[in-house]
Structure formats: structure tokens, C-alpha cells
Symmetry: C2
Subunit: 308 residues, 2 copies
Amino acid sequence: MNVLPNETQFAVSFLCLVMKTEESKIMKVRRSDRLIDMTRYLLERPHTLVPLTFFSQRYESAKSSISEDLAIVRRTFAQRQTGILETVPGAAGGVRYIPTIGADEASEFISEMAQRMSDSERLLPGGYVYLTDLLGTPAVLRQIGRLIATQYLDSSVDAVMTVATKGIPIAQSVAQYLNVPFVIVRRDSKITEGSTVSVNYVSGSSDRVEKMELSKRSLQSGAGVLIVDDFMKGGGTVNGMKSLIEEFDVKLVGVSVFAEGSFAGERMVSDYTSLLQIDTVDAKGKNISAAPGNYLERNADLFKELNK
Amino acid sequence: MNVLPNETQFAVSFLCLVMKTEESKIMKVRRSDRLIDMTRYLLERPHTLVPLTFFSQRYESAKSSISEDLAIVRRTFAQRQTGILETVPGAAGGVRYIPTIGADEASEFISEMAQRMSDSERLLPGGYVYLTDLLGTPAVLRQIGRLIATQYLDSSVDAVMTVATKGIPIAQSVAQYLNVPFVIVRRDSKITEGSTVSVNYVSGSSDRVEKMELSKRSLQSGAGVLIVDDFMKGGGTVNGMKSLIEEFDVKLVGVSVFAEGSFAGERMVSDYTSLLQIDTVDAKGKNISAAPGNYLERNADLFKELNK
């Protein structure tokens, strides 16, 4: 008579388990779908606060289930160094996806770029280096965008600024990862820009005075502006953009360029980061020297923090 | 004596179930992580064949589990109209993510754009319309890119071509969704482009002859080229790009513009799609008329196919 209750217990346990397994089967399917769609939704909206109730309604699921989902997404994003899923508590809270790049991936990408840059086929007359193909390749632009956006993850960037033409793809990619607009400064303003504000600047390499313009309605006063460009030598162009920033009564958050070249005189810009340092050594001998810029060094503390 | 074997059965079943549950718990965690990371990986590499063995090694999981994962991703992508997950069978096979947009989402986006465009604040002197803010907003560019890329999902586009400056953000976004390079035609070529090929073209609106150039090394002979631009009136600029395509011995795949304006004379380009039709009616009265372009109509069959 001691055996039976135990057996009944077994039977009950069995039944419970069958039910639980069935339930978890249904839940599992729904959860999978939620995780996939949630991942896509968050990746497409970096730096945007998404309330839990939004997901809860979208997937007709309890907030507790959504919280569990987000914990899984957070863990995977952290493990794979996709970025940080930040939780903002409270009634007005939710989650925010902040794209980042791991130190190893950043360093690998920079090394790969330096190697590709060293190809003597890239050498142009006058000691210039052909970069146009790289700055037209989505996979390369994606990584440049992630690298620069990681750098400013905690800064309040409201807009990315660049000068036409070659800076545009970089600005667009950084803007995408920061999820802010980008504005294009032009040397030749067109009628389709409306009223513009213009400044004169000294081109560092040629010592000529040139003009650059930006559409008047493109920046709101007080905005935080990040300057990006493809290449910096004397820093004249970047300096011109800094003058524009003053004219617009906005704040400079930082300066990041894809590549810098060495400059004989005094550079007009001292506070900047570069992914690469490119120099043409002996244009006759067709040699390009490409090495990592100051990006990794300047962000050493940030990457230490991210790796924790 | 009939009861005991049954009870033993229960016990065994129970034990099995406990083990199974434990196993499925471990599997569940792993599957969740795989689904999240897989989704991100595929979204970042549209139109790229990813072998099953790649995922199998990345997640240290059996190919059968990976196949199951991909079936779930495929289903969710289809349900949410994120795109098609195409399976390529055979030893050299794998999966390929093809981004698409649903007919409803496309139509909603176009309506929203038309509405935002109608704002009289956008009216510029001379009857021009200010578009620069929209073409500098990542969320808007993302949708423009998805719309145009969906149109060419089955065409072999090897490169996207546009003319500086305002076409660039559109070209970059389309190129990202098709995962091909984009090339920028310039009216003023710079030394950093290397040798260029140039053509003269007649600007449709002003009847002036102008010049445009493209870096010689930017296109490989035989490539399929998609032309995109922000705005088309007489079609002169697009026609200039078509001349360049002939010079480069590449193939024109299609022409897609963000917006078209009505043109009094005969348009130089007849085969194109536009997301919007924008006209300024009575510049004095500050009126802009913005309506959907021919995009939805021209792609009606495609969207029927996608909705199946």
C-alpha cells in the first residue's frame, strides 16, 4: 500500500509533463518567430527606444514573455558583439539597441583595409590613392559605419556632417548606425538646396581660399554635430566645416575620417580619429604605405569597457 | 501483478521525459541564440549564398538542426514580409536572403512620402521642391532602397549607377539591399578618380550641353547596371548615364528614380519607374502637387507574385 500513492504520483507527474511539453512546443514556435522578427526590428532601429508594450501588442504576448525574449536577444547580441541591448526601466521605458563592434573585429577590419590599400594598383598620378571602389562597397561601408558609430555611442550626436562627394557614403553609413540624419556641405550649391549659409576656408594642401555652403534649413540650432570625411591631409576641409558649425550655432561632437595622410606643415585640426594612415612613398617607385590610424589607440578605454 | 509493469512503464516514461526536457532546454537556448544571430547574419548579407556548413560550423550544430532553424526563419520572414529565404539545393547550395517589401507597406510608404512632399514649406524659388532632408534620413532611405531593390530581385544587377550629389544616398541604399557596389558619375571629376571616361549630354530642362565623367576602373565590361536618381524631369541626366553605359560596354538593367516631375517637351527616357510624381502648381500660390509615381502600377504583377 506504500507503492500505489507513489505510482499515482508518477502518473500525475507524467500527465503534467505531457501537458508542459505540449505547451512548451506551442510556446517554442511563437518564441522563435518573435525572436527573429524582434531581432530584425531592433537592428533596423538603432538608438531608438522601443516600449515593451509595442512588442507585446505586435506579438500578442504577455510582457513577461517579451522580457524573457529580450533577455535572450541581449545575451546573443553581447556574445556575438552585435551591440548592446539597453533596458530603460519605468513606465516610459523599453529597450534600445546600440550597435557596437568588438575590438578584435575592429582591429581585423582596419588591418584588412590597410592591406587592400597597399596595392600599388591604387597609386594615381600626383601621389594620390584610389579609394573610390572601397567607398562604393556596401560591406566595407557597413563596417566603417559601425566603427565610427561605436565611438560615439554615448555622445549626443543629432546629425552627421560631411562634404560632397566622397564623404557622403561614410556619412550615410555612420548616420544609419546612429539613426540620425546626415547633411551634405557642398562646394557648389544648387538651387534645390534653397537658401544656404556659406563660409570661406583655406584648403590646407593648396593654400587656396575656397567656399563651402550648407542649406540653411538643414540643422537645428543647438544640435550636436559629428563631422566625417573620407580623407584628411592638411585639415582645411574639416576646418571649413567647423566654421560652418559655428555659423549654425550647433555643437561639434567630434571629427572622424576614414584615412589621414601625413602633412608637412601644421595640421589645422588636431582632435580627430582616423581608421587608416595612408602615405605614398616615392610615387615613382609605386609604393603606398598604409597602416592603422589612431582609431584603436584613441578608443582603447572604450573597447576595454565594451569587452567587460 | 498487472499493475507493476505499468508502473515501471510510467517510471521509465517519466525518466525519459525528464531527460528529454533537459535536452530540449539546452537545445532551446541554443536554438534561440542561433535564430537571433542567423537573422542578423542573413540581413547583413542580402543576395549572398550562405552554405549550410557555414552555419553548422559557426554554431557547432548538426546540419539537420540548421535546416530546421532556417525553415523557421523562412516562415517568419515570409509572414512579416521581410523577404524571401531562398534555398539552393546540392553540394554547392545553401540559403540566400532576398529582401522584399510587401505591396501594402510599399503603398503606405509612397502615400506617406507624397503627403510629406505636399508641405508648402518645401517650395523653393523657381518652382523647385526641397527634398534634401528626406534624402538624408536613414529610415526614409532604407525604405526607398527596399522598394527599388524589390523591383530588381530577379535581375542580374552588378552595380548601381547614379550622378553626384543627390542621387548618391539612393544609390547607396539600393546597393545595400542588392549587395552590389555603386558607382558615382560626376560633373566635375577629381584627380582622386584616376582616368575617367566622359560623355557630353543635353540637359533636358535647360537645353545646355554638359559633361559627365566616370572613373575608368569603376565598371567591369559586361556588368548589369541599374541607374537610379533622385529626380527626373526631361531625362537628360539619365540619358547621359545611358551614354556612359554604352561607352563602358556594360548592360542597362533599368532606370528608377525617387521622383519625377512633369515635362512639357518629349522626355528623353521612356522606360523607368518613379516612386513619386511631384509638380509645383502655381509657384505664387505656394502649391505642390505630389502623387504616387508609376512604381506600384509597373510592379503590379511582381507584388501579386510576392503576395502568393
